[in-house]
């Protein structure tokens, strides 16, 4: 079968998505001016404000309990053993494994469902499309905790009698296999794809499935990466829902593991911070390797056609 993507250069009907980016003019670097000082000061302040919690977390993770209670800035002697203690005290190996599984399953589900939904909203005309999309967007206004009770009843099988999912993997993943925001993100990106490509695909006898698979998805890598990254961060940091619907440690993620460091008598802040560093490192690694696609995905999904 011909690669429908090769049609892009022959239509002659205007700049294509891929071509537009390759012809961007590279501008000369800005020279420093005095008028830039307030901007730089604001950016530096923002950078310090953003970095301070992370630096505090790193520093506190290496302190003794007394040093954390006394709000020291830096530890006298770095307590690397805190990481070992945090890992072993809170069953972090099990929770880490669970977080990985939950993230992989949820990312796969989100990419599949949101790709199909985003494509339908962007490229297929059907009755009530705009109304449905508006209703979908309006759900972004609903705080997550408001949906906990109906979600709980759903996974317990009280509304649809599909069985009791409490303390199981489906309860932790099914409610999150599709999100309005990611659908919106994908829809915006897919809408930017030139209609000429679709016309060319139709000429070749392709329908929506083939167009999606062979044209849209290959050029959607940035937004797919963005969707995957956002889903990963949300799933990795989940706390309240897993705490509510897990009765055993079997499927508990890292967020619940961190909670065990806060007791009724006082916090073990040093261990909590050590556990937090352990929790956040995978997110940083994933973001480090995907930041280019992430930035591109956010930017291009917002461009007007």
């Amino acid at each position: 079968m011909r690669n429908l993507g090769n049609r892009r250069g022959r239509t002659g009907s205007g700049p294509q998505v891929g071509e537009a980016r390759s012809h961007t003019r590279v501008e000369a670097p800005l020279s420093f001016r005095a008028s830039h000082i307030p901007l730089y000061l604001a950016l530096i302040t923002g950078a310090i404000v953003s970095a301070t919690p992370f630096l505090f977390m790193m520093s506190t993770s290496l302190m003794t309990l007394g040093e954390t209670i006394n709000r020291r800035l830096l530890p006298d002697v770095p307590q690397w053993a805190n990481y070992v203690e945090a890992w072993s005290n809170a069953s972090f190996d099990l929770y880490f494994r669970n977080s990985v599984i939950l993230s992989v399953v949820t990312i796969a589900g989100v990419l599949i469902t949101c790709t199909l939904a985003g494509y339908a909203f962007a490229r297929i005309s059907f009755p009530g499309r705009n109304v449905i999309f508006t209703i979908l967007l309006s759900t972004l206004m609903i705080p997550g905790t408001v949906t906990f009770i109906p979600q709980f009843l759903l996974v317990r099988g009280d509304i649809i009698p599909w069985g009791n999912w409490i303390d199981t993997l489906p309860a932790l993943t099914v409610p999150f296999l599709s999100t309005a925001f990611i659908i919106f993100l994908f829809r915006q990106f897919f809408a930017e794809i030139p209609s000429e490509l679709w016309d060319a695909a139709r000429l070749d006898g392709a329908g929506h499935w083939r167009f999606l698979a062979q044209v849209v998805l290959p050029m959607s890598r940035p937004v797919l990466t963005t969707g995957a990254l956002l889903t990963f961060v949300n799933t990795w940091n989940e706390f309240l829902w897993p705490l509510l619907i897990t009765y055993t440690a079997k499927w508990r993620p890292l967020g619940v593991g961190l909670y065990t460091f806060i007791s009724e008598a006082g916090p073990e802040t040093h261990l909590l911070m050590a556990g937090s560093v352990i929790t956040i490192v995978p997110v940083l690694i994933v973001y480090f390797f995907t930041q280019k696609q992430f930035t591109e995905g956010i930017a291009t999904s917002g461009l007007k056609g």
């Binding site: 003794t64 309990l65 007394g66 040093e67 209670i69 006394n70 709000r71 005290n89 809170a90 709980f152 317990r156 009791n164 409490i166 705490l243 509510l244 009765y247 055993t248 440690a249 619940v256 909670y259 065990t260 460091f261 806060i262 007791s263 009724e264 008598a265 006082g266 916090p267 073990e268 261990l271």
Partner: protein
């Protein structure tokens, strides 16, 4: 004749029930225990559970799961009450157990406790601190026992002994040692503002930080000779003369600049350890954290004492979660659960539990085996010796909601609201909450 037959029937039923328990076989049962313990406490609990699993003659296996804090466990229990999804054993405060009982979610442990075969002997019962032992018997539910105490803790006054001595020696205050009366407390708290501690590591010098917590409200009301509940009338008494006096006293400290709110969770521990805060009031279970705070902070001599009181003797607020048996399981499973409770609260287990948790043991005989522990933890022994002066907050259903209400009203009072009218409104609302709960029982 009818009366005779009714009495005979009641006796027969009681005897029948008693016979049922006596003939039960708990062999091979599995008990699931939901709790909120982590770190050292979890290690201590696991040691107790492992000991029971290894040595009990019935082959009973106890499993346990951390389920978050008390509030998280309470939220998890409510939708599954009365079902087999509940654990066999769950931690909970007395008021939470009362709420469960309204939904028929609690097993009355009285038959187990009094059973000739499985229960406690008279000597064992007498070994428990009376206040602890009776706290889980609910008059509102025909004196049913919906919980059993594995531990307790107490609201105590933490004070910086070195700082007080400094101020006494400088003539800033008229007494030495821990304050015994509210007047002495106010004198020292206000003097602390103008006479910073010599070892302070820096920061604002203050006398007292108040956390707006219903237990603090209760503690100070007890210290002024009052109570927050009238057990005879089954009504809250947040607007009693003593409660008004207590809150007015605290408001006065705020107005004078001698006291402030705890603005950050455990912030009072932090400031106390740094030598910036003369007094705090908190749970005795926080002793290890205070010890760490002081040792790595300003490093000074400190102690615990009764909350300054107008009464002749101290009145100490003693609290702690008990363990309860939810309904939804077989009689054999319930018996197996009770047998674990017996093990958990026996003298040997209590000694292990006290060392791991820093909670008070519930049996008086345990103290004999804690001599070395007392020697290493003077403050713990001081607090332990105050147990005879204990009283407790009401085990009323819906008390969790009343606690939320009182926290808000305390904050309003310390911000300047009129004490009498605020407490009158709060009391009315608290009793409405109680009425709703009691209606649900009927």
């Amino acid at each position: 004749m009818k009366k005779f037959l009714a009495t005979l029937a009641a006796l027969a039923m009681t005897f029948g029930l008693a016979q049922d328990i006596e003939s039960l076989d708990p062999s091979g049962q599995t008990v699931m225990f939901w709790h909120q313990h982590s770190s050292e406490r979890l290690a201590g609990l696991e040691a107790i559970i492992d000991d029971f699993n290894a040595n009990n003659e019935w082959g009973i296996t106890v499993l346990h799961e951390y389920q978050g804090g008390y509030g998280d466990i309470f939220q998890k229990m409510l939708p599954i009450l009365g079902t087999s999804s509940t654990p066999n054993l769950v931690v909970g405060y007395q008021n939470q157990a009362a709420t469960y009982a309204i939904g028929d979610g609690m097993v009355d442990m009285t038959p187990f406790v009094d059973s000739p075969t499985w229960g406690l002997s008279a000597e064992e019962k007498a070994d428990f601190f009376p206040g602890f032992y009776n706290a889980d018997v609910f008059p509102s539910f025909d004196n049913a026992r919906f919980g059993f105490p594995p531990n307790r803790s107490m609201e105590v006054l933490y004070y910086n002994a070195e700082w007080i001595n400094e101020m006494y020696n400088a003539g800033a205050i008229s007494f030495a040692g821990a304050p015994k009366t509210p007047e002495q407390f106010a004198e020292a708290a206000c003097a602390a503002v103008d006479n910073p501690f010599s070892k302070s590591t820096g920061g604002r010098s203050l006398g007292y930080q108040l956390s707006t917590d219903a237990s603090r409200f209760a503690s100070w009301t007890f210290a002024f000779g009052g109570n927050v509940y009238d057990y005879a009338a089954d009504q809250y008494t947040y607007d009693s003369a003593e409660a008004v006096e207590a809150m007015s006293f605290l408001q006065g400290l705020f107005d004078e600049g001698c006291a402030d709110f705890v603005t950050e969770r455990y912030g009072d521990q932090t400031d106390f350890g740094a030598g910036n805060l003369l007094f705090t009031v908190g749970s005795s279970s926080g002793l290890p954290f205070y010890d760490s705070a002081v040792t790595d902070g300003a490093d000074f001599v400190w102690g615990v004492a009764p909350i300054p009181h107008t009464t002749d003797e101290p009145v100490m607020n003693i609290y702690g979660a008990s363990v309860s048996i939810p309904t939804g399981h077989s009689a054999e499973a319930n018996l197996a659960t009770w047998l674990f409770i017996k093990h958990y609260t026996n003298t040997e287990s209590q000694a292990v539990w006290t060392r791991a948790s820093n909670y008070f043991p519930v049996r008086q005989s345990v103290a004999d085996g804690l001599t070395d522990y007392f020697a290493e933890n003077i403050a713990f022994q001081t607090a332990f010796n105050l147990l005879p002066y204990g009283t407790s907050e009401p085990p009323a259903p819906g008390y969790d909601f009343v606690r939320d209400l009182i926290e808000g009203e305390m904050a309003a009072i310390m911000d300047g609201s009129d004490v009498e009218s605020t407490l009158a409104l709060a009391n009315g609302e608290a009793n409405l909450i109680l009425a709703d709960q009691l209606d649900a029982m009927r």
